[in-house]
């Protein structure tokens, strides 16, 4: 399973390196979203700064939808058959694709995070919390996204169905991530522990679900 995962992750990342879709399309999109939010909430800095953590995570959620769509689109109908025929362990395929999406999102987050800090003018109190929340949140997003991507994968209505299916499910990540980041930026009065715990649990649960359910899902193509 792990070897298959590494193989698939490598393949997906190599494709991304060649085609640069995430770099050239998803990243600029995310930056545009940040700017739009600022336009909507501004021009005074205060409301924007206060909303910054939430805006980061919302933007990240949208970016996840795009990244997952891309991850699914890489497997054309024939390639999907090819994957089924390849004898690769479905759990490994799931982990590989999740890992690839997670890496892409991580790169995006560095960019977004810098953007938020710059544009929205906030001061960081605890970098460790920021990073930890981002890491586990990303894992959770990538895992649930890949799983739903497989669910909606072969369907012609995938583009419109996927966001509808995915976003409600990852709402807890948005909540928890925002609260954690608020604490890390010195805003809000909630502690970080319950939120971090939630992010970890979410990631663990969806990784486990994906490993178990990806196989049966592939057969529904």
């Amino acid at each position: 399973m792990w070897r298959d995962g590494v193989l698939v992750a490598g393949k997906d990342l190599r494709i991304e390196l060649r085609s640069r879709v995430v770099l050239n399309q998803v990243a600029p999109f995310s930056v545009v979203v940040l700017v739009l939010f600022a336009l909507a909430l501004g021009p005074s800095r205060a409301p924007i700064a206060q909303a910054a953590p939430g805006l980061f995570w919302v933007t990240l959620l949208f970016a996840t939808v795009l990244a997952v769509q891309r991850s699914v689109a890489v497997e054309s109908t024939e390639a999907r058959d090819g994957l089924r025929l390849s004898g690769l362990d479905p759990a490994g395929i799931f982990l590989g694709k999740t890992a690839a999406v997670a890496v892409e999102l991580a790169a995006l987050e560095v960019l977004l995070g810098a953007g938020v800090l710059l544009f929205y003018g906030v001061h960081v109190r605890s970098v460790a919390t920021l990073v930890a929340a981002a890491v586990f949140g990303t894992l959770g997003l990538a895992a649930s996204g890949t799983l739903y991507g497989a669910l909606a994968g072969g369907l012609r209505v995938r583009e419109t169905l996927l966001p509808f299916l995915l976003l409600p499910v990852v709402a807890p990540v948005l909540l928890a991530g925002t609260r954690a980041w608020q604490a890390a930026l010195g805003q809000g009065s909630t502690g970080t522990d319950p939120w971090m715990a939630l992010l970890v649990v979410f990631a663990a649960v969806y990784l486990a679900l994906g490993v178990v359910l990806f196989g049966p899902l592939q057969e529904a193509a």
């Binding site: 193989l7 190599r14 890489v74 390639a79 090819g82 089924r84 004898g87």
Partner: protein, 249 residues
Amino acid sequence: MAPAVLFRAAVALAGRFPALAGVDLVVAPGDVVVLEGPNGAGKTSLLRAGAGLLAVTEGEAVVLGHDLRRDRVGVRRRVGLLGHDAALYDDLTVAENVRFALRSRAGRAGCRSGTAARGADEALERLGLVGRLRDTPAGRLSAGQRRRVALAVLVARGPELWLLDEPHAAFDEGGRLVVDEIVRDAAGEGAAVVLASHEPAMSAPLATRIVSMAGGRVVSEIDLGRRQATGGGAAVDPEAPVRGGVHVA
């Protein structure tokens, strides 16, 4: 000898449409069966069902000892399917695509000892994919070249059952000769080959049997009596009913 493929009254659905409406077919190792018939007769569906991609919902379907109605996943690594479109990743080069396809099966070779898996390089060379072509992204290849890559993967793998969907299509004259050679070699080593063709005249010289399909069923069979070595000229399973067929001794 156990047949490589055994279908009896097999029904397979694509959505609500019965792609296979009761197929009877037996293929022995070393056989080269040519499926012919009009468009929509179910040739591609039969190949896909044989590869475990299309679920058989009624009847009997056993491929290489795997009961497809219970477990159609396990059979896939022992079967090689060449579809209409090559399952390649457009952004990866030919060499990378082949490497990915072959690494997926490392350590899981289910091929019989007689059918030695050839090296990837040898296979690529045999199909004329040399030099700069190997580093070309698959998206830039022509349809014929893409099929060559897919076929090269099959040759490198050496499966026990070859399912080829119109193997001559998109190939130029030289390519077609290579395909014929490959089919003969595979059958000679004891693999079973089933190929679908729109132009039976081109594939007839290869065939040991020609099976006609229409409306999702097998309508007739002609045994050309040319069996390849290995199996020792094993006859077609006598239990299998041959529908409306003409057996030539």
